[in-house]
Amino acid sequence: MASVSLYMRPGTLEEALLSLGRPGAVVVGGGTKVNSASSLEPVVVVDLQGLGLDTIEKVADGRLLLGATASLRRVVESPRVPEAVREAARREEPSTLGNMATIGGCVAGADPASELLATLLVHDALVTSVTKEGERAIELGALLLDPAQLAAGIITSVTIDTDGVTAAVRTGRTVADRPIVAAVARRNSMGERRLALAGVAVTPVSVIAAHDSFDDAIRSLHPPGDFRGSEEYRRELAVVLARRVLEEIG
């Protein structure tokens, strides 16, 4: 367990931002990651549960807002959420942890194997965060590449597009295991294609097509290998799985 020196449950965003100014302060949504980390240095837990950031609602331009503290299971159960996102949220954590883990925590955690993050990427996710300087929206892909953009800030929501067709495939040791590599593709209502991969970099990544082909971009990846899959294997999986999801969305 984490060594916790102080617990704070702010009632407003302003209080939360003030709390974050304390040395060792960490933001907790559900606590699945922070609480289970075996930190030796004491942390100050800033629990966001009192901020009312757990709504899931339609917002402008037909986009859907997922509140930062909405639990993954709430996302799974919400009929407003596109089926592919619900399924990715379901797969992200087992039931017990899925009732605790939050959308904001998932974004902040930036797990390289997160199929949910890959799915949010193809749904053009924008992450809204608040700092003392104010509120701003950051593209999820950009945030994953440069997490420092979140420094001293609090994620308040993630908004996504809900239109189009999405397909996801994965390879794992078992059917319920976290993927070694997962590929998610979406064709939006404008006919534009998106592709994202998990398990091929230090975070899930969007793959940008060159001349309408994703192959070269995928083959240029250098996935970090581990005991579940070598660099070579992950790259090959990425090619195969990307091809499948792109075929599926047409």
Binding site: M1, A2, Y7, P94, S95, T96, R173, V175
Partner: protein, 993 residues
Amino acid sequence: METTNVDVEIVLNGKRLQAGCAPGETLLSLLRRNGCFSVRYGSETGETGAAAVLLDGRLVSSDVLLAVQAHGHEVTTLESLSGARDELHPIQAAFVESGALQSGYSAGAMVLCTKALLDRCPDPSDAQIRDALSGILDRETGYAKVVDAVHRAAALLRGEKPEPMEPVFVDRLTGEHEPGQDRTVHDEGTTDAVRESGALPRLVRSPEVPHGAVVGKPEKKVDSVRLVKGHPAFTDDIDLRGMLYAKVLRSPHAHARIVAIDDSAALALPGVHAVLHHLNTPRVKYASGGQSWPNPQPWDQVSFDDKVRHVGDRVAAVAAETPGIADEACRRIEVTYEVLPAVFDEVEAISPGAPVIHDEPDTLGIYDAPRNVSHHIEGQTVTDAQLEEAFGRAERVFEETFHVHQVQHTPIEPHVAIGWLDEDDRLVLRSSTQVPFHVRRMLAPLVGLPVKDIRVIKPRLGGGFGSKQEMLIEDIVAHLVLATRRPVRLELTRAEEFAGTRTRHAQTISIKTGVDREGHLLAQDVRVVSNTGAYGTHGFTVNSVSGQHGLSMYNCPAKRYRCDVAYTNRPVAGAFRGYGAPQAFFALESQMDDIATALGMDPIELRRRNWVRSGDPLDIVPRLGERGGVEEIAPEDLPHVTSCGLEECVEQGRRAVGWSRRTDPAWKRPWRRPSIRRGIGCAIAIQGSGIPDIDMGACSLKMNDDGSFNLLFGATDLGTGADTVLAQIAAEVLGSRVEDIVVYASDTDLTPFDVGAYASSTTYISGMAVKKAAQAVRQRIAVRAARLIGTGDGGAVRPEDVELHDRRAWAPDGRSVSLEDVALNALHTEDQEQIMAVASHVSDDSPPPFVAQFAEVEVDVDTGQVNVTKLVTAVDCGFPINPVTASGQVEGCMAQALGYALCEELVLDERGRVVNDRLGPYWIMRADDMPATEVLLVETMEPSGPFGAKSVAEVPMDGIAPAVRNAILDATGVSIGSIPFTPERVWRALRAS
């Protein structure tokens, strides 16, 4: 709210609870402090689900939730459902009825999970149930009966009455058929039973087996109510005044000498009461394996050594006022190491130039310490020359090398022990152990106490699978109790479970097999290099069993088995369900399919031409093992197969899995899914039933005033249902009911000796001890009943004519007297006596159970992913005393074996550190991982077992991995010689082909 020390207010089970706690305290800790013992520790990271509770109606893991996060919320634990003494909530009743609880360690979580699901979804699908259960890892059941329990609970809550949990009878397919049974197999691949529920045991009855009133019935487990109510039944479910908390400092190095230890900073920490290490603890050599006296050598361990031999090896131990202080004290112990070269691979370890792991002068009995060979094992049925001659006669000779890997047991309850000094200054240890009597005897010299001054109590265990057949923490607790004279508790973390307990032996197995033109085996030569890790412990016996069981499967006139057991700097290997047989059968059964492929034969037909049958000798068995090494042995002195249902098992399994689809190209290559290849594989296996002439079980049986009985034995139920099975045996003999047999086990002060739970011995060995004791009690009851009945009208009755049934003693003419009246007469009225008996049992036989296992797979040839879509196990366990608990054992074993085949693997980095010492990275099968499973129990009559019973709990571990491997071969034509079948391994094999 902002404070360093927090006042937490929650609504706990409908009542307001205010408590002060540290900000880092988990909700799990707070709940257990407040008497909610149904919430249990499984890990620090929430994956096991053992600590699951409802937070505002949602299932969450309280071990990864801060107590203060629950402030202002409603928390529900299993205790909320506990009503009057005999009352069960419908969900609890469903779990009892379905036999869904084995150890019951996670019962609270499962019941609450069910409640949360059914509250929002009154009639869930299988998929919804498995998704809901995905957060609760169950290492014991295989989930089939848990899913059934949820369906039953849903039906009960809807006001429906579900069908009782009773066996489905399946017609025999071989030999004499028993027509007219109520539900039968129809088409290949499907049965009525399958359509009804995957959890119901399918029973293929044998006319040879006499069926009783209690044995053979799906009696509810004797401990099920206690477990489903979440009562404090487990080792850690007590609080002792003044208890100290122990933590162990473990080695960060794979191989190093401890040059210096400075414990002054640790001892100076307020709240620290003792720091123990090699400089202040007696150096007494021992072997940690829980085995009968004298423990096999080498005795290569001491409680704390001046050398560490694997990452996670013990360095020191601390007892302190809180776990946090103990942790901090461990960090403050300054250890100076001289790091030494390390070796992890078993073949490299015994090669020239490898670092010597056991160079200490005081370990006796290492076979070849300079070469890192802890044991050398060999046995053969013919001379070397005769073996070569047999190979010379063979039409074809096949030589292959296989590798099986290191995996960990992962019982959800970790190793935990609590010790204290009683009022007579005797040392009492309450421990989660499979071998309480062995622990008592082995511990005595380590702490300098006589055996009589040690008492070991085994409460309910939360799973073991062999990892608790070792003395791994009890000596640490004992040392600390004696040093502090305070109660001391030590519970291992999940990471310590992986690195600091025990694992399955990895093996490199080379097999050379000669066959004639028709596929008859002529010669088998098996050479094994086994990896015991840093210490020898079970190295001799596990690796002997590899040869004993592996080379007993088939008749073959010339057999040889040789094994070097290698020390390495890996975490230590030990006993693990199957005990060497799964390793052997992976290699042997894989090669059988390769031979069949080469000969163009059906793999089952090749096996049929060779497998042992009733009356066949088990000729390698006496040449190996504890009492092995016998070179010359007369044929009549060889053990023989005394019961065998293998033919029926194979036919049942073949039909259930749909074996004929192997030749259907449309099924094997589904045209809509071009990257998919389908296949079906099979493997057969045998195990033993106890260790002949060594394993001893004993019990005492005492009659009470009301005609009930106290049954006390030393056998240890790990969750297997052994307590229930032994009660059924007693009830059957005594004409009583299971609920009138009060079971207590085990406690070295109170219960008779038993070797403990291992080697598949409990039903076969301890069960026979119970039967003998019950027969002796029955005899006394008959004498007294004859006298009581004979005093009335109708004349005298001879005791030998008295029968017991329906809780009464009956004369042939129908007169009877109740057992209660017999007991009252014996205890209070006439020629008073305590009717009781003590009995022991040892067998000179170890009849093998047989299993036929089948796997259906889909292989994605582009990614290498193997998806197992169906598993079938047909097992001959003799007469299943309780078909529900027996089938539950098989289901759980299949899940564990499937993990062995597909995904479980203890991975070390180049420095010997476990990379995946957490559940998740170390993946065990979840409810939503498991394929359809089917279990068939094929009855046979084993003459040496109680009511015809043999063992059941280990043999299903043996054939799943080779069955999956052979299914991959059938699907793709590719032979793979190593497990697990991870996607990359399969992908590379496909590419290489």
